[in-house]
């Protein structure tokens, strides 16, 4: 995208005041998004994005400047602006830029860009048709198809030069069902860093059917109960909970700012001994996977909990250097328009030994959560909240009536310590996580889990 000589010149300019390192991030991204709504293909958008960001860091202080102009003048201007954040006056060196190659974690077999848009449109029509025939109570269907190809160049003053391509694909079905005055919604949206072969394994009709069935099932729902009770979280959903409640406070920037409940607790038991948890960016074609992070650190599988004992934190370059540990490859950015920050990738609770059906059977009374709408955590206090998009009562060991308007609220360490059953099943969920104004595609996964006691917020008895 840029030649090495120019990049070296920019890095040298960025190091005019020294600092620990300078880095250039260049990106070109082409994308297609198609939206079918109200039984019509409403919108087909193609975009071409490109830009570059220059970062200079000293300790945990950084300067960052970006531009979507890629000419020499604009890039040198960005280098000058970024370096203004530093106080030093001795220029730093730039090591010869040398290629580093990754294993090809996200290789696409069939590139989405090579497929005519008309075929992508046909998938959305299938979503609409399948969702509507699933039930006469389906009144509205939205189908969204998205693919992109991001090409990134990361070069830094320590000589790293990484050129990596990331293909992304996602197909989403959102369904609205209505009976009398009751309106409910259902959602499904598998995603991967892959080519169109991904949709062979996750066909549009299955996505449509799942979303439609969820919406229709919730039409029978009664208001959710309120108060503390046992909650069984279905496989897949527990990963979202783990990501939000536990993963965010394990990000080293929160730890460094003394804004994490896990600070100073590595080696301590901070979860039930049934909990083994990892953050793993090396999963082939995972939604949160890559060869190198957005600082050019190789991706890895990072152990977070072993039998409930905290193993360590998720690091970027700045925080790792300060804490005197190795980076874990968790420095990510939404685009060239954002400085990298510590982020999760694919965050999973590993499967346990229990039969998931038996977990439910051995719960006399509680709530079964099969869909979480996402949540929010305050890493400093550990307080978190999740909306339940699909939930049911458990009565005498059986999943019975659906409940609506529920959420789960608790504190990270208490709730993870209250897990008293872990199933042998496993499922993933893909989402986009927001932090500091940046969105990052993240995966999460889990087996079926039971939390012996957690507050359910609802309006019912």
């Amino acid at each position: 995208m840029l030649d090495r000589e120019l990049v070296a010149e920019i890095l040298a300019a960025a190091r005019r005041k020294g600092g620990d390192f300078a880095e250039v991030f260049v990106e070109e991204r082409s994308s297609t998004s198609i939206r079918l709504d109200d039984a019509k293909v409403e919108e087909l958008t193609t975009g071409l994005d490109r830009g570059a960001g220059v970062r200079v860091a000293h300790g945990t202080t950084y300067g960052y400047a970006y531009s979507n102009r890629l000419d020499r003048d604009a890039l040198l201007e960005a280098a000058a602006a970024a370096s203004a954040a530093l106080r030093g006056d001795a220029p730093g060196p730039v090591v010869d830029l040398t290629d580093r190659f990754g294993p090809g974690t996200n290789r696409a077999e069939r590139a989405a860009g090579s497929l005519p848009a008309a075929e992508k449109v046909a998938w959305l029509r299938e979503v609409d048709e399948v969702a509507r025939v699933t039930s006469p109570e389906v009144i509205q269907v939205t189908g969204i198809y998205f693919d992109s190809l991001q090409r990134r160049l990361i070069a830094a003053s320590d000589g790293r030069w990484i050129d990596e391509e990331r293909p992304r694909i996602r197909l989403v079905a959102q369904v609205v069902a209505k009976r009398g005055d009751v309106i409910q919604t259902g959602w499904d949206g598998p995603a991967a860093c892959a080519g169109i072969e991904f949709l062979d394994a996750h066909p549009p009709r299955v996505t449509a059917e799942r979303a439609a069935k969820r919406a229709v099932a919730m039409l029978d729902s009664i208001p959710a109960p309120a108060g503390e009770m046992p909650v069984v979280v279905a496989n897949g959903c527990g990963g979202v909970l783990f990501h939000e409640a536990v993963g965010h406070p394990l990000e080293a920037d929160a730890v460094d700012k003394e804004a994490s409940v896990y600070r100073g607790r590595v080696g301590e038991r901070c979860a039930s001994e049934l909990i083994d948890g990892v953050d793993d960016a090396t999963i082939a074609n995972g939604w949160g996977s890559y060869d190198f992070d957005d600082e050019g650190e190789p991706s890895q599988r990072t152990e977070l909990f072993r039998e409930g004992v905290l193993q360590g934190f998720l690091q970027d370059r700045l925080r790792a250097a300060k804490m005197g540990v190795q980076p874990t490859g968790n420095g990510r950015r939404e685009s060239y328009a954002h400085p990298p920050i510590v982020r999760m990738t694919n965050t999973n609770i590993l499967p346990g030994k229990e039969d998931p059906d038996e977990v439910i059977r051995s719960t006399p009374k509680g709530v079964y959560v099969r869909g979480l709408g996402g949540g929010q955590v305050n890493p400093a206090t550990g307080d978190f909240v999740f909306g339940v998009s699909e939930g049911y009562l458990i009565e005498n060991g059986e999943v019975t009536t659906p409940v609506r308007g529920a959420n789960l609220i608790g504190r990270a360490i208490e709730v993870m310590s209250a897990v008293d059953a872990v199933g042998s099943d496993f499922e993933t969920w893909e989402g986009v996580c927001g932090k500091d104004g940046q969105g990052a595609p993240v995966g999460s996964g889990s087996p079926t889990l039971r939390i012996s006691r957690i507050t359910v917020g609802g309006t019912g008895a």
């Binding site: 087909l44 490109r50 960052y64 960005a78 700012k257 400093a380 998009s389």
Partner: protein, 447 residues
């Protein structure tokens, strides 16, 4: 580098036959500085430009965008949008609006804001952090202390005669403090936005962030019960996104709004009035025209609890028929996205009751100061919600013990019916604003 006006005119000039072409270009410069432990934590300079093009041909809509295009690339963007239109389905309601006169708003561009140098911004961020960590012995650190400002320009031109431009400046300060006592940590947030850093008073932001964190120390989890609730402006503003979605005409037309069949009905209590006003200068969302180039205006969505109508762009207005005009509410996330219905300054109109009078009416209830999880815990289609909350117990007309790890749950119509008082303390948070609001009764879940 072409001017924005040149870019949009070049794109419109590439129109063919009787197709409609609209070009939207924007550029922005933004600086943000955050401070931590008396050092600069981060300093970000951003510069961006881009162009988005809508082509409507035989009722089919196509869109394409490009970052920082040349004049040739602006034309190519039109070609790509045209190709995309060929694959979309025709919709008779697709169409660009005819140009309408609008009154410029020079007030939203503050020339003097450019006089604040990068060094001044660094000093301001450092001062802000130092001030925040020296107010109270229990607050010695921040999670975030940041100041920022931005200059942005927008130009829109179309084959239907739209040819408009405007510029704006914005500046903000945000603080998140950490209050520590024993092994307990609590956080406090505050935020302020103005037209320029030269007129931004940041001390109150730090003070409020400190007060809000300290007040939460010692918080406990309350028992599950139904109580009167006062939502302060921070908490109340969190619900405005759900209301914005429900009064969006596109959602109404597509069966995705709980208000769809309620126009003319008394949905909320007489104390509840909800307004969108793009010309209100004290709101950060002020702008002379919307993302299709139509003049911004004032739309009263609820008056005394009665639902009057919805927010429209050109598409939803045409599709609604019956002479419905656009309310000037076409908005977009930037040049990368097509316009859709959105809000400008969207706020609950202030009442006449003071905050203390609201507290006096809520004895035994709870003052909710922060809600969390609204994006996942509130359903704008069914209107049900259950969200996390923190706040203070109300007794004898004053606030008392702090409460955490609780949820409040209800439905939007019940909450609106339950509005028993609206404060005079209207405050804008970005482009949404609200005063403190007393809700007669809500389910509060804890132990």
């Amino acid at each position: 580098m072409p001017e924005l006006g040149e870019l949009v005119h070049a794109a419109v000039a590439a129109a063919e036959g009787d197709e409609q072409v609209e070009a939207y270009a924007e550029e922005g410069r933004q600086t943000e500085v955050s401070a931590l432990r008396a050092e600069v934590e981060g300093m970000t300079f951003a510069e961006s430009r881009g162009l988005g093009v809508r082509v409507i041909r035989d009722g089919r809509l196509g869109y394409a965008w490009a970052a920082d295009p040349t004049l040739d690339e602006a034309q190519e963007t039109v070609w790509r949008a045209r190709d995309n239109a060929a694959l979309a389905e025709p919709d008779e309601h697709n169409g660009l609006p005819d140009a309408q006169p609008f009154a410029p708003m020079p007030e939203i561009f503050r020339e003097d804001s450019a006089s604040v140098s990068a060094d001044d911004k660094v000093r301001m961020a450092l001062d802000l952090e130092r001030y925040a960590v020296t107010r109270d012995p229990r607050v010695t650190k921040v999670d975030l202390a940041q100041v920022g400002d931005a200059v942005s320009r927008v130009a829109i031109a179309s084959t239907t005669g739209v040819d408009v431009e405007y510029a704006r400046t914005d500046a903000w300060a945000v603080v998140v403090t950490l209050a520590v006592e024993g092994d307990e940590t609590q956080t406090g947030f505050s935020f302020s936005i103005t037209r320029g850093l030269d007129v931004l008073s940041w001390e109150p932001v730090a003070e409020e962030a400190v007060d809000r964190a300290v007040a939460m120390l010692g918080a406990s989890k309350p028992p599950t019960t139904k109580v009167p609730v006062v939502l302060d402006p921070f908490a109340a503003s969190s619900f405005l996104g759900v209301l914005a979605s429900a009064v969006n005409a596109e959602n109404v037309l597509k069966g995705r709004s709980l208000f769809a069949d309620m126009v003319g009905q008394q949905v909320g209590s007489a104390a509840f009035t909800l307004v969108d006003d793009g010309r209100r200068l004290d709101g950060p969302g002020a702008c002379p025209f919307d993302s299709e180039g139509l003049p911004s205006g004032r739309t009263e969505l609820f008056t005394g609890g009665m639902l009057n109508g919805f927010l429209h762009d050109t598409y939803t207005a045409r599709r609604s028929g019956a002479g419905q005009p656009s309310t000037g509410n076409a908005k977009r996330g930037g040049y990368r996205s097509t316009p859709g219905v959105g809000t400008s300054n969207f706020f609950v109109d202030a009442g006449e009751v003071t905050f203390d009078e609201l507290l006096a009416k809520a004895d035994g209830g709870v003052l909710v100061r922060e809600v969390s999880g609204v994006h996942s815990g509130a359903n704008p289609i069914s209107g049900e919600f259950s969200v996390g909350a923190t706040g203070l117990r109300i007794s004898g007309g004053a606030t008392g013990e702090p409460l955490r790890e609780m949820t409040i749950a209800s439905t939007i119509p019940e909450m609106l019916k339950g509005v028993a008082g609206v404060g005079s303390d209207l405050r804008f948070f970005s482009s949404v604003g609200t005063p403190s609001i007393l809700i007669g009764e809500m389910t509060l879940a804890g132990v």
